[in-house]
């Protein structure tokens, strides 16, 4: 992500030199490292430079002579948290005019200065899949964000070109939320039929484009909606499917099989009933951990043991905040509650890091502390699953973007005093982390 970092640093330094040459390496010494991709390392050393992880190892890991050294003894460092389902950023999605909105992009409506982003960082979250809501069968395109500082949404996106690249997934929903008066489905059967009909049309569009073989005279007219669905059919855009009840979960698996798309099951309140089926379909799940069942019919049989059931069945399990259903500041708590309800410690740590990265197709870049990956990590005061542990620092691509030791930023973690209305966020000119 030198694209965003370079201009800022050059501005500060006032000279045009390459980033890596200009920036000193930073060494974090003495913490228990939880790389996730490998066993924890007591008294470890983490070296980052140029926004990337340069080295992860034990106390004897060699470090560059001119490095800036941070003593983090007694602390725990783990990868930045990956939240596969959130509603921070104040964006919206499709409207009631139609049940399917494949061309609607949430990235056109996200405020990169939304205080939800700051709140998420205070919880150790560094990557987020920001989604439109579940009130429609298909409410629009989601956006994968790195929670960097930025003035424009482009500064936070993983993609570099919003016109040529895929910058997120596609939100879909079944069950009761998307039901409504015409043109919305009134029944589950109709919901599935509406979806199938549109994907059949997308298949036809794809075939016509292929048949044209680049000949402008034969190409069908541009169609933003069908083009998005073709990306789904070709496995290039992931479907993020809101689904609670066991039968609705199986309907998603059936649709995914018919059209061959890459899908992630979201919420999955009754996943514990069909864990084997989910695992057999090799479909990952992104689950919400809440403090009590109910609140809606489909969550009546919610069980916090779904994480355990899916892990034991061999499915890929990620967790998410669904912020504001749960608060991003408490994302690690969700992982701890999954452990309370039978998930393994390793599985729970993975579920908020590497599993999330895999769910978003970004496991080569984020999700673990490994050489070459983005320098996204969290410094914790203690064990990740303890209620008494606080997120002390959140680093994104080698920059410290949350620091609990700063009294102003501490308010982001504890709340109050107008902090979530921008009241406590003073402007620190040129200061790292707050501009």
């Amino acid at each position: 992500m030198k694209r965003t970092l370079v201009p800022l640093l050059l501005l500060a330094a006032g000279v045009a030199v390459p980033l890596a040459a200009q920036e000193r390496a930073q060494v974090f010494r003495g913490a228990t490292l939880i790389p996730v991709a490998s066993a924890p390392i007591p008294n470890g050393i983490l070296v980052v430079q140029g926004g990337k992880i340069v080295a992860v190892g034990g106390a004897d890991t060699p470090v560059p002579a001119d490095a800036e050294v941070h003593d983090v003894s007694g602390r725990t460092i783990m990868p930045g948290l990956v939240d596969t389902h959130s509603h921070i950023g104040g964006g919206d999605g499709g409207d009631q005019s139609a049940p399917l909105h494949p061309s609607v992009r949430i990235l056109d409506t996200i405020d990169p200065r939304d205080d939800g982003i700051l709140r998420a960082r205070a919880g150790g979250v560094t990557t987020v899949n920001v989604m439109p809501g579940s009130g429609l069968l298909m409410s629009g395109q989601t956006a994968y964000l790195k929670l960097r500082d930025g003035n424009a949404i482009d500064d936070l996106l993983f993609c570099r070109d919003t016109l040529r690249e895929i910058c997120g997934g596609l939100k879909m929903a079944n069950g009761t939320n998307p039901r409504g008066a015409t043109p919305h489905p009134g029944t589950r059967g109709r919901a599935a039929a509406i979806i199938r009909d549109r994907f059949i049309k997308a298949r036809d569009h794809r075939d016509r484009v292929r048949a044209a073989a680049g000949d402008p005279k034969k190409l069908p007219a541009r169609d933003l909606e069908l083009e998005t669905l073709v990306e789904v059919l070709e496995g290039r855009r992931t479907v993020h499917f809101h689904t609670h009840r066991a039968d609705d979960i199986l309907t998603v698996l059936r649709l995914a099989q018919e059209f061959g798309f890459r899908v992630v099951l979201h919420h999955v309140s009754e996943g514990w009933k069909v864990a084997d089926r989910i695992a057999a379909a090799r479909v990952p799940a992104s689950i919400t951990v809440i403090d009590a069942p109910g609140g809606k019919l489909e969550a009546a049989e919610f069980s916090a043991t779904t994480g355990m059931a899916l892990e034991r069945a061999g499915a890929e399990v990620g967790l998410h905040t669904d912020d504001g259903i749960t608060d991003s500041r408490f994302f690690l708590r969700s992982a701890a509650l999954a452990v309370r309800n039978g998930m393994s410690r390793e599985g729970a740590l993975r579920s908020v890091t590497l599993a999330g990265a895999r769910i978003l197709g970004m496991q080569d870049r984020i999700g673990s502390l490994e050489r070459g990956k983005d320098a996204d990590f969290v410094v914790l005061s203690g064990d990740p699953f303890s209620v008494y542990t606080h997120v002390e620092q959140t680093w994104i691509e080698g920059r410290k973007l949350f620091d609990r030791a700063d009294p102003e930023q501490r308010k982001l973690a504890v709340g109050g005093y107008g902090v979530f209305r921008g009241g406590a966020l003073h402007v620190h000119e040129g200061e790292e982390g707050h501009r």
Binding site: T288, I290, D291, A292, P293, G294, G295, K296, L297, A299, A300, G324, I325, D327, F330, R333, A336, L337, V339, R340, F385, S386, V387, Y388, H390, A413, V414, G415, G416, Y417, G418, F420, R421
Partner: protein, 400 residues
């Protein structure tokens, strides 16, 4: 307790007899009695539903014939100082939502006992997490939504669950009322309407004493508050509403319990001077609208200011359908309050605020045999509640 006896008789339920309860001994590596320092390797003996003895195992031998339960940590059964459980049902559908009647913004005559569903699964959910006593009833959102009550989280009907049938009258100040009723449409009008209604209740009482005044349930309920027979539970989140509640209490001389109180940390002097306890919002309350200024540290700030604080599960309109005070106290503990003071907010201090301290909230001889048993620090996320005892009966033995 005469109220309890008469209601139990009405419901056709026999009051508990000692014979109905097993003799139980609970031994814990740490026993938080909430009446003195925690006891290492402590024993609690329960007989006839009541606590018989509490002390170190070295001094309290377990008599023959007692069933013995052991745990790493033992606490009093938790007390949820304000909930809507039993009225706001699990499903969140119109047919199981009885916490707010929208026909009139002032209905203090509504009784929680007439709406409580003891079989709702959320009651069992709280019980499984160590909550044995709940102050529940009509929820926030009306100027006066109804009367609250205290139940144990047991029984198949309200008669079996009931501890106190009319505990407080629930009031709400703030913008949420305007979203539920045609009038009041503003916060100021809401206060004016309440003042007017209290004045009417005084006039009603004057006429009643003079003779010839027909009885009126609404006026009677307000008189209970004016004559300090039961406190006014006033939900007030913002500073303006908290100060308005204090002003009303001064004007009419009623006993006030502040509820919610998201911005209480900004007016601690005023609250302490009025000697008013606070049933604070759930620590993890969503920070939006009236609660946007909530902090995780408010319980600590209020306690440091000398204000009695209890925690609540509160009202949830969507997912999750209830909160659990064990979880809320845990977060307060980790945000400045500390373990023992956080325990107070869901045991003895909660019991005091709802007027039940003679029966519940601490482990002392003569009190109800209500206990929660844990396999570790009660507040750690990964600890489990492994047994729950209500009046000597083991009501849950699944680790949750």
């Amino acid at each position: 307790m005469s109220r309890l006896a008469s209601l139990a008789a009405l419901a056709g339920v026999a009051l508990s007899t000692p014979a109905a309860h097993a003799q139980l001994a609970v031994r814990g590596e740490t026993v938080y009695t909430m009446a003195g320092a925690p006891i290492r390797d402590g024993v609690v003996l329960i007989r006839g539903g009541r606590i018989e003895r509490v002390g170190p195992a070295s001094q309290v031998p377990v008599p023959a014939g007692y069933r013995v339960l052991t745990a790493r940590v033992v606490t009093p059964g938790l007390v949820d100082a304000h909930s809507v459980v039993g009225l706001a049902g699990l499903l969140g559908q119109p047919h199981d939502q009885d916490q707010l009647d929208r026909t009139d913004a002032i209905q203090p005559e509504l009784r929680a006992v007439d709406a409580y569903n003891a079989s709702d699964e959320l009651v069992a959910w709280l019980r499984g997490h160590g909550v044995t006593t709940v102050h529940t009833g009509h929820g926030p959102g009306a100027l006066a939504s109804g009367q609250t009550m205290v139940v144990k989280t047991r029984g198949d009907d309200v008669g079996e669950a009931l501890v106190d049938s009319a505990t407080m009258v629930a009031f709400t100040l703030g913008p949420s009322v305007a979203s539920n009723y045609r009038t009041p449409g503003t916060r100021a009008r809401g206060v004016a309407m309440l003042r007017n209604e209290f004045l009417k209740a005084r006039e009603y009482e004057r006429k009643r004493r003079a003779g010839g005044q027909a009885p009126d349930l609404r006026m009677e309920a307000l008189l209970d508050v004016l004559e300090r027979r039961r406190p006014a539970l006033v939900t007030a989140q913002r500073t303006t509403e908290i100060l308005a509640a204090l002003r009303l209490a001064r004007e009419f001389g009623f006993k006030l319990v502040l509820d919610g109180a998201a911005e209480a940390y900004r007016v601690t002097d005023e609250i302490r001077r009025a000697d008013v306890p606070v049933i604070l919002h759930p620590t993890m309350v969503r920070t939006s609208g009236e609660t946007e200024n909530a902090t995780l540290e408010t319980a600590k700030i209020l306690r440091d200011a000398g204000i009695v604080v209890a925690l609540q599960s509160g009202f949830e309109g969507y997912v999750p359908k209830t909160r659990v005070v064990l979880f809320e106290a845990a977060v307060a503990a980790a945000n400045g309050l500390g373990v023992e003071n956080a325990l107070r907010t869901v045991t003895i201090d909660a019991a005091r605020v709802i007027g039940m301290e003679r029966r519940v909230g601490s482990l002392e001889p003569g009190k109800d045999g209500d206990l929660a048993l844990f396999d570790g620090d009660p507040f750690e996320y990964t600890t489990h509640v492994c047994a729950v005892v209500i009046e000597g009966q083991v009501v849950s033995e699944t680790c949750r």
